[in-house]
Symmetry: C2
């Protein structure tokens, strides 16, 4: 690699020319005139300078974003946006806050006044809402019913309201549980004016933020909220991940379940119609679910941490 140039004078000349070109921004023609060389000679010297490692170009970000992992994730799964934070991930709460802040910045960056924002409930979405700067009057639509999480004060409705107040836009909310015991109740709830009105805005949603869960104990709030027979039924159907209530197999295919008829929330088809769905997953254990969500094509943006991103990228 190194040691290419013939002798010390060559080394010094090469380094000087490299400096003029790369650091002083002179053109090769100027440099050729200055040193009495042809511009081709200068070009060849610069080539050897790069090949020999005398000129080193590195791309490195000072902040907490791992640009390399981000770009790889983005390329690998054809995403619109991928943000990987290089954050210590031992403490789930602080990790969630970090990701929430980054997601808030991302959302603020990509959203336009023409957008309609959809929000599904997830703890990371709640963290994002807290960090959100003022948005340009974007309407906010609630995508899922409420889930009772012990110790969590924010409900779906609260988060949507919070974001809408940050944006100054309308908040389309409804009060209903995420899951109910039977399909008839679900149908009835969906026909309630409040719920129907909110869901009518669903086709207009252009950007959404959702959570991702691995279908296993402790890794999906929805999973843990369901009775054992429902959990097992979905396992038998090959469910690997849920994206705010949309169930996916390990290779990212949507799985049709009877449970869906008993849920008040967005369907796979409706989610697919949303141009960009952003997820904020964390925890290496969820790698399989995250990969499923990315393979599904439902998800267009992801905000996560380095360990999980690496795990997802591994074969």
């Amino acid at each position: 690699m190194a040691g290419e140039p013939g002798g010390p004078a060559q080394v010094v000349l090469t380094a000087t020319i490299a400096r003029r070109y790369y650091l002083d921004g002179r053109s090769k023609v100027e440099i050729a005139d200055e040193f009495g060389l042809s511009r081709f000679k200068v070009a060849r010297i610069l080539d050897t300078a790069r090949q020999s490692g005398l000129v080193r170009i590195e791309i490195r970000h000072e902040g907490e974003i791992d640009v390399d992992l981000s770009a790889r994730l983005r390329d690998r799964f054809g995403l619109q946006h991928a943000i990987v934070l290089d954050t210590p991930d031992d403490d789930a709460a602080s990790l969630r806050d970090h990701l929430g802040r980054a997601a808030a910045q991302l959302l603020a960056e990509v959203i336009t006044p023409q957008d309609v924002l959809g929000l599904a409930w997830a703890r990371a979405v709640s963290a994002m809402a807290r960090a959100l700067p003022p948005l340009p009057g974007t309407p906010v639509v609630q995508l899922t019913g409420a889930m009772s999480l012990p110790g969590g004060p924010d409900t779906s409705v609260d988060v949507v309201r919070e974001v809408a107040s940050a944006s100054g836009g309308a908040a389309h909310v409804f009060y209903a549980p995420f899951t109910v015991p039977d399909a008839a109740t679900a149908r009835a709830l969906r026909q309630q004016p409040e719920v129907a009105r909110a869901f009518a805005h669903l086709p207009a949603v252009t950007k959404a933020v959702a959570g991702v869960g691995l279908w296993a104990p402790g890794l999906s709030v929805l999973h843990d909220a369901l009775p054992e027979d429902d959990r097992a039924a979905l396992v038998r159907l090959g469910v690997c991940a849920d994206v705010s209530g949309v169930f996916l197999s390990a290779d990212g295919e949507p799985v049709t379940t009877q449970l869906s008829e008993r849920m008040i929330g967005i369907s796979a088809e409706e989610m697919r119609a949303i141009p960009e769905v952003i997820t904020i997953p964390y925890g290496v254990a969820k790698a399989l679910a995250v990969r499923a969500s990315l393979l599904s094509g439902l998800v267009g943006g992801i905000v996560t941490h380095a360990a999980l991103a690496s795990a997802v990228l591994e074969e």
Copy 2:
């Protein structure tokens, strides 16, 4: 410096584009097509990437050559070649060997079969001779008479012979002391056939290697070899440096001395006629003398170490 880009998505996009451009070598047009941007936008993104420090280009040599100091020395004094070694300089002997090797490489690099090489005596020149690779038949001319240095086995003649045997060219040598007690003796010596024959080749010399001494005790072999009244006389004339017997004031002007009439060696005019004279000074104490030698315009090449180079460059 950092933190220029608007948001995380912008950071990732910028980093990805920078990677494509600087590391993958894609053109801006290709990148623009790939990301659906105009090539101008790509160019601007790349500009911000460099300004923000996300792309860092550094020029650094692995070996012992300090390319930065070398180039500064070269530019500052309009030299043809400057080689500054980043070598520990606590041990004079090993430092001399290092410089000698580097000078040998430099000489081998810049010399052509058409060149005629002149050699003045100096310890560093002797070290160079030892490290010299085969040269393309260059004739070698002795420039100065011999000096008796206690403990030094090599005389001017030996060094010239050694180099000539490495080059396979003719060795134009003579046996005569550098200084004699009176002008008449010097004139007589110069007219000796052997001496005259060697000096006849002087105008043909195209490259030479010489030593530099500071006119003070212990920093110039010539100074130390002269009686006290001669030393003092030169000090009174403002002599600061000697370049293989050519005396210079602190600002690099040649100083005419009566001593010159009593010396068998090259004159200032003859030295100025040589296209490139290379010196191999070492020791920070000689900084003033080295600066004088570089200001004089007599010297076109220098091989030295970082500490001395820095000292010379300081105002």
